[in-house]
């Protein structure tokens, strides 16, 4: 098999970045849309002489909630940006995965997909490029989701294994009719991403995939 070209990897990483930016934009837009309608309703009620204390309090509570949710997205994005931009060749895999899952929450909800995480305590830092890692995890997550009908679940298990860190994706639920986890090209790109991380991608039975990374401590 010919080696995976740099251009293919670059496309995969760009596609991941675009997907993340799209998710953030969509979610923030939704928060702002709710805020706008809430403020608009307050103005409508005031103009109609129908503004009351209870309604105003409810509106303020709604605005506060939406602002909090928007700030969470900004914090998550900021954390992700920090991980991606970190120098030193190591990163906190558990935090990075947590940020990724946070950003993909709406996508998962729209697929009626439950994503759960089990993270070992005192997980060491992982070696490698966090951008490649997150790109790979996102691709595996999307691939796994494609094998499941709505209502499925993906367990992400991160644990130390000797000098390595293992991230396992365990899909569970009714299989989607005629679905394959990923195509051959996708598999090659995923394996290459893992290799460039200094690790390995392993496929096991039942659609389980495991990313092995070297621990740096």
């Amino acid at each position: 098999m010919p080696p995976v070209e740099d251009a293919a990897i670059e496309r995969a990483v760009r596609s991941f970045a675009a997907a993340m930016l799209g998710l953030v934009a969509h979610e923030l837009n939704n928060r702002l849309a709710v805020m706008r309608e809430t403020v608009g309703l307050m103005e409508d009620l005031a103009r109609a002489g129908k503004a009351g204390v209870a309604g105003t309090a409810r509106a303020h509570s709604s605005l506060d909630d939406q602002i909090g949710r928007a700030l969470n997205i900004v914090r998550t994005l900021s954390g992700l940006g920090g991980a991606l931009g970190a120098a030193g060749g190591s990163f906190d895999a558990a935090t990075a995965i947590g940020d990724l899952v946070g950003l993909t929450e709406r996508w998962a909800r729209q697929k009626s997909l439950l994503i759960e995480r089990e993270v070992a305590a005192d997980l060491p830092r992982a070696g490698g490029d966090p951008a490649l890692f997150l790109c790979l995890v996102h691709r595996l997550l999307v691939g796994s989701a494609g094998t499941l009908q709505p209502g499925g679940r993906i367990l992400m298990r991160v644990a130390r294994n000797g000098a390595n860190i293992h991230l396992g994706l365990h899909p569970a639920g009714e299989p989607a009719a005629g679905a394959m986890a990923t195509g051959i090209d996708d598999d090659r790109i995923n394996r290459e991403l893992a290799r460039r991380l200094g690790g390995e991608l392993m496929f096991e039975g039942g659609g389980v995939s495991t990313v092995r990374l070297a621990a740096t401590s």
Partner: protein, 152 residues
């Protein structure tokens, strides 16, 4: 109100707070508004009742808005559909218009613009019905049916 007719609007969006608040604002503007929170609920609603205009989100759990629009046009072709989405692409807009969507708006839309579009959609529906009646009265039943069912 539109003349003496109260325009019946169905809002379809999985963002509960957004669609509930928008519904209240539209009711203050004398529209009769129902809200549902996904495509399956929308199709169940129109199986029992026919709104004049549906304001439909695209990205929802379960059925995508384009699939919901397709189904609406099969079962209730006279119902006007306005897409209101925060995530629409040019391809989505093309697909919606080809399926007979009346308009394609991006969230958040100015309330006055949305109300204007709802009224325009309703007026188009009324004009179509009147045109069909005119053809039927003239004996041209086939053309009357086509106009009524939005086949031309």
């Amino acid at each position: 109100m539109f003349g003496k007719k109260v325009i019946k609007v169905l809002l379809v969006d999985d963002e509960v707070e957004f669609v509930t608040t928008l519904g209240e604002r539209l009711r203050l503007r004398e529209l009769k508004v129902d809200t549902v929170f996904d495509g399956t609920q929308a199709l169940a609603f129109i199986a029992k009742a026919e709104p004049d205009v549906i304001v439909l989100d695209l990205k929802m759990p379960g059925l995508h808005g384009i699939d919901v629009l397709r189904e609406i046009k099969k079962t209730r072709p006279k119902v006007q559909v306005i897409i209101l989405t925060g995530h629409g692409t040019d391809q989505d807009e093309d697909a919606a218009r080809k399926l007979g969507g009346f308009d394609f708006l991006r969230k958040p839309a100015e309330i006055d613009l949305l109300v204007r579009k709802i009224k325009e959609a309703f007026q188009e529906k009324v004009d179509r019905v009147m045109s069909a009646i005119a053809f039927a009265e003239g004996g041209d039943i086939d053309d009357a049916k086509k106009i009524f069912n939005k086949e031309e």
